[in-house]
């Protein structure tokens, strides 16, 4: 049988597939949010991704080319005059080369990774002359509650932050764990019951950014999306003032209703109950027992040990579903 037409068909198919993939990946809608950062953390992560990818690609692309070359050169064809050495199976020199290449690459990458890991540790406050805004994030079934303790307001499924100001997120969950992710500002962090995680981000450009829950948390997890509005300082202050003026307050009962499983639209509240976030975090602390997560790196809020134990009594009543 003539082998050539088959080879041509395979080649054409391959080229078409590659072309289709390149076309869809670069021109067919969608925005590469991870590669379009709007803040210093996202920017640093983007640089790190590009750096680590190029380092790994430096090794992998030549190997890819070598693979195709070797397969072509040593195919068993009648007119192929390539050298054939069935018993050549050992070369200390060659093996030393390819044990050492990946070792060197990984060594360099390890140094870079370690540096960036400390640099971008999410619980580390950002270097800035501005006073950070604190937002307390609670993942609920299946909505996000954002409380602004300094402003005394709260929102559901929407975040407003001023431009150029570091934001200190304190995160917890009053539902199965989720993960809080605003790709254009920086990477995600898990939200878990009984812990207050910390994440520091900053936005340098005004705009609306996409945010979502990233860790599966049950039936309507897919709808846990929210918008992040980055505004000028003035607009942000106006927005806060407006909410203070126009919206209803969030009461403890209101929170309990909100925390029930179900979907929710965006919402705004003019005030928040005292210590609500603290109560959610310490909901499961058994009275008299040390906080099991007290020693967890970067996971406790300042002052949690103080307010935690006093509020525990009320919290056990708030536990709607109780244990089973």
């Amino acid at each position: 049988m003539n082998k050539k037409p088959k080879a041509i068909i395979a080649l054409v198919l391959t080229v078409l597939t590659v072309a289709l993939l390149i076309w869809t990946c670069f021109y067919a809608g969608g925005k590469y949010v991870v590669f379009d950062p709007k803040g210093p953390i996202g920017q640093a992560q983007k640089e790190l991704i590009i750096l680590s990818t190029s380092m790994a690609a430096l090794l992998i692309v030549p190997v890819m080319i070598l693979t195709f070359f070797i397969i072509w050169r040593y195919r068993d064809a009648p007119d192929n005059k390539a050298k054939y050495e069935p018993h050549w199976d050992d070369s200390k020199k060659l093996e030393t080369v390819w044990w050492s290449i990946p070792i060197v690459v990984i060594l360099i990458l390890a140094v870079i990774t370690a540096r960036y890991t400390y640099l971008l540790e999410p619980s580390k406050p950002m270097a800035s002359t501005q006073k950070p805004v604190t937002i307390q994030v609670t993942a609920l079934d299946w909505k996000w509650l954002f409380m602004y303790p300094e402003e005394g307001i709260a929102t559901v499924n929407e975040i407003h932050i001023p431009k150029g100001v570091p934001v200190r997120f304190e995160l917890t969950a009053d539902a199965p764990m989720n993960s809080f992710w605003i790709p254009q500002l920086g990477g995600q962090i898990y939200t878990m019951s009984g812990m207050a995680m910390k994440l520091h981000l900053q936005a340098d450009q005004e705009g609306t950014y996409f945010g979502s829950g990233a860790n599966f948390s049950g039936e309507h997890f897919g709808q846990m999306r929210f918008d992040v509005e980055v505004q000028s300082d003035e607009d942000y202050k106006n927005w806060v003032a407006n909410i203070k003026k126009q919206s209803k307050p969030l009461t403890k009962d209101g929170y309990l209703a909100l925390a029930k499983p179900g979907l929710s639209q965006t919402d705004e509240y003019s005030s928040i109950p005292d210590g609500l976030f603290q109560d959610i975090v310490t909901k499961y602390v058994v009275e008299g027992a040390p906080n099991p997560h007290g020693g967890h790196g970067g996971a406790s809020t300042e002052g949690s040990s103080k307010s935690g134990s006093t509020d525990t009594g009320t919290m056990s009543n708030m536990n709607m579903s109780g244990h089973n």
């Binding site: 198919l13 391959t14 597939t17 993939l21 869809t24 990946c25 067919a28 809608g29 969608g30 925005k31 590469y32 949010v33 991870v34 590669f35 640093a44 992560q45 790190l48 990818t53 790994a56 992998i60 693979t67 397969i71 040593y74 390539a82 050298k83 054939y84 018993h87 050549w88 199976d89 060659l94 390819w98 290449i101 990458l109 390890a110 870079i112 960036y116 890991t117 400390y118 971008l120 540790e121 199965p176 764990m177 992710w181 990477g187 995600q188 898990y190 019951s193 009984g194 812990m195 995680m197 910390k198 599966f216 948390s217 049950g218 997890f221 897919g222 499961y284 536990n319 244990h323 089973n324």
Partner: protein
């Protein structure tokens, strides 16, 4: 009374979805069909004697492979349903709850009930033959392992029509998997389906370690062992350390759900993080459990079809063992974003990257095995070659993911989904398919037709890239995994559509493979492997006829070289023949019904635990205990001898027909 029965029936049987009614009907029809065919052709006795009670490792292997292919079909249909749902925004093919069940069962089935049994099937087929043994070390245990896996898988699949499927993800993180958030029986099916088959997996691990240590043919030192056997050994070492963790983790979760425990709940001092750590201490090594034997297969296939010795054999062995050990130091990279702090993240990031070193070395060794070889493109070799560029992509993205601070952007996104499918399909499934084609003649005595195999290959491969390359992009666009639907405003539609098309191309590839097997069976006379060595193989399994006789080797081979059979053929070509020892009576294990019956009791007990019905689990457990007692105290004549004359007759019949 009638109302009560109705109410019970509506919670017991899953209702409300036309797809499930369809499944009900097809299950009923298939069962009736099987029963009818077996009765009509009077095959019940044959089935019982030759298959259900067999302890022959080759038959056990075939049963593993059949079950795995069935599960590949089920898991594949799950995948296609998910891709249909995501093809375009606002599709309402699946309700979110149903979607959650489907991705949960897809993941669990593909890893535990498809990859694992396919792998065990190949272990069973190849390892005893490669090391010149007549059986595995514990044939009875081997049959028991298979039936435990099978019953576990069936119990898990039953959840689709009875009681409801698990829907908390394939690793079932608490608190979502706890009673409070998953009150139905789905999670119980998950726990017991995996638990029962997991016992079988652990036993298989022990069995093959002992087999490889104790039953190698005389002369086969460790460094003369075939590289696939080495990979099996490495994989089994991981199994015996990793699977006990899984067993305990699931037992604790069960105690939480069934006995009011609080190991992983937040109230009463429990901690879900404990579960997440434990499950990944098993889960990450598990990935290497399934991929290392695939590395072994690639090594065998590439060297045979390049007509060359494997390059850097010792490097390959060290690299595999290094991977096996390192696999236990990477589990925390599954939760870099859980706030463990920079010290922990840096440690696990670097220990994860280090795995790239031995893996990279292996790739170079495969390339230089082909270098100065004569490469023929038979189907096993095509899959092995396709694996290399694929795995380079999976490796590249794996290194990207291992960079902890960058992982904050990849974690839980479609980028991750694309990465692990590249590694698991490109690395594991391609490898097992190569192995399946490679050892097919040894299993069944005929080779599979090449043409439909090549069609299957191209559909699978093109479909693979079309499906998963866009998913890397989707991840970078912020699409998270396990979404049941998304909006038009996200801009994810075109890439999702392309990805769905790719998934269906792979589905067509699978159909071509089914066609290939059917055509192979139809033309098996023409495709018959009369030599026992259709690929000009290197290792001992090719020195005996295909399919291998019950006793494998009429006389136990004396091993002198690493690729002993290849060297032997060289010598024979030069006219040097080894002196064959005389044929003697062969000691063989007898069939036993206990593994099958005991597993059925395990199934009954598991089913009872799922529903909390003591009138099921108590008799089930008693049955298990009785089977153990019978095996321990009453079955003394578990073996017999095949007389030398009969062996001679069999050998003459097989070899005479050449």
């Amino acid at each position: 009374m009638l109302d009560k029965i109705k109410e019970f029936a509506s919670t017991f049987f899953v209702t409300g979805d036309p797809m499930i009614y369809g499944a009900d009907v097809s299950i009923a029809l298939a069962t009736i069909g099987i029963v009818f065919v077996l009765t009509y052709f009077k095959k019940w006795g044959w089935l019982w004697k030759n298959w259900l009670t067999t302890v022959d490792h080759k038959k056990v292997g075939i049963m593993y492979i059949l079950a795995a292919i069935l599960m590949l079909f089920r898991g594949g249909v799950d995948a296609l349903l998910m891709r249909l749902q995501l093809a375009t925004p606002d599709v309402t093919l699946l309700h979110p709850e149903h979607y959650n069940q489907i991705f949960t069962t897809h993941g669990t089935i593909m890893i535990l009930f498809m990859a694992m049994p396919l792998m065990f099937g190949l272990f069973n087929i190849a390892v005893p033959l490669q090391i010149g043994a007549r059986d595995v070390a514990f044939p009875f245990l081997n049959a028991l392992s298979f039936w435990l896996f099978f019953m576990g898988a069936m119990l898990f699949n039953l959840s689709f029509v009875i009681g409801g499927s698990p829907d908390a993800g394939w690793l079932s993180y608490p608190p979502l998997s706890e009673l409070q958030f998953s009150p139905g029986v789905g999670q119980n099916f998950y726990i017991w389906g995996i638990q029962i088959s997991g016992i079988g997996s652990l036993a298989t691990g022990i069995n093959f370690i002992v087999t490889i240590i104790k039953m190698r043919a005389p002369g086969m030192t460790w460094m003369k062992m075939p590289v696939f056997t080495w990979s099996v050994f490495s994989s089994c070492v991981i199994i015996i350390f990793a699977f006990p963790i899984l067993t305990i983790t699931l037992a604790l979760l069960f105690l939480d759900r069934f006995g009011g425990g609080h190991f992983f709940t937040l109230d009463f001092g429990g901690n879900p993080m404990m579960y997440i750590n434990l499950i990944w201490m098993w889960g990450h090594p598990e990935v290497y459990i399934v991929v290392i034997p695939a590395f072994g297969i690639y090594s065998e296939v590439i060297s045979v079809f390049s007509k060359k010795k494997l390059f850097g054999y010792k490097s390959m062995v060290y690299a595999m063992f290094m991977i096996a050990i390192l696999s236990f130091f990477t589990w925390a990279h599954h939760f870099f974003t859980m706030g463990s702090g920079a010290d922990v993240n840096a440690f696990f990031a670097i220990s994860t990257m280090v795995i790239a070193i031995p893996t990279g070395v292996k790739v170079f060794n495969w390339l230089f095995t082909m270098y100065r070889g004569k490469i023929t493109f038979k189907t096993p070799m095509m899959w092995a070659i396709a694996f290399i560029p694929n795995f380079l992509i999976a490796g590249l993205t794996g290194v990207m993911l291992s960079v902890a601070p960058a992982d904050f952007q990849f974690h839980n996104s479609y980028f991750l989904v694309a990465h692990f499918h590249s590694a698991l399909i490109g690395g594991v499934v391609f490898g097992y398919l190569a192995g399946l084609y490679y050892w097919w003649p040894k299993m069944f005595g005929f080779t599979l037709p090449e043409t439909p195999g090549k069609w299957a290959f191209w559909f699978w491969n093109i479909g693979f890239y079309v499906c998963f390359i866009p998913q890397y992009s989707l991840g970078l666009m912020g699409m998270t995994r396990r979404l049941s639907t998304y909006g038009w405003d996200t801009g994810w539609q075109p890439l999702n559509l392309v990805s769905t098309v790719g998934a269906f191309l792979m589905g067509i590839g699978f159909l071509f493979q089914v066609l290939q097997i059917l055509l192979g069976i139809k033309n098996f006379r023409k495709l018959k492997d009369t030599t026992g060595d259709p690929w000009d193989g290197h290792t001992l399994e090719w020195s005996i006829p295909s399919p291998a006789p019950e006793y494998n080797f009429a006389t136990i081979p004396q091993v002198e070289e690493r690729d002993d059979w290849w060297a032997e053929k060289d010598k024979r070509a030069k006219g040097i023949f080894r002196k064959q020892p005389p044929i003697e009576a062969i000691h063989m294990p007898k069939n036993s019904a206990i593994p099958f019956i005991m597993s059925v009791f395990f199934f009954i007990a598991g089913f009872g635990f799922v529903f909390g019905w003591s009138f099921f689990y108590i008799p089930g457990l008693i049955g298990v205990a009785i089977c153990m007692i019978c095996r321990s105290f009453f079955s003394y004549d578990g073996d017999y001898y095949i007389p030398a004359d009969e062996v001679k007759r069999t050998e003459a019949a097989i070899r005479g027909s050449v």
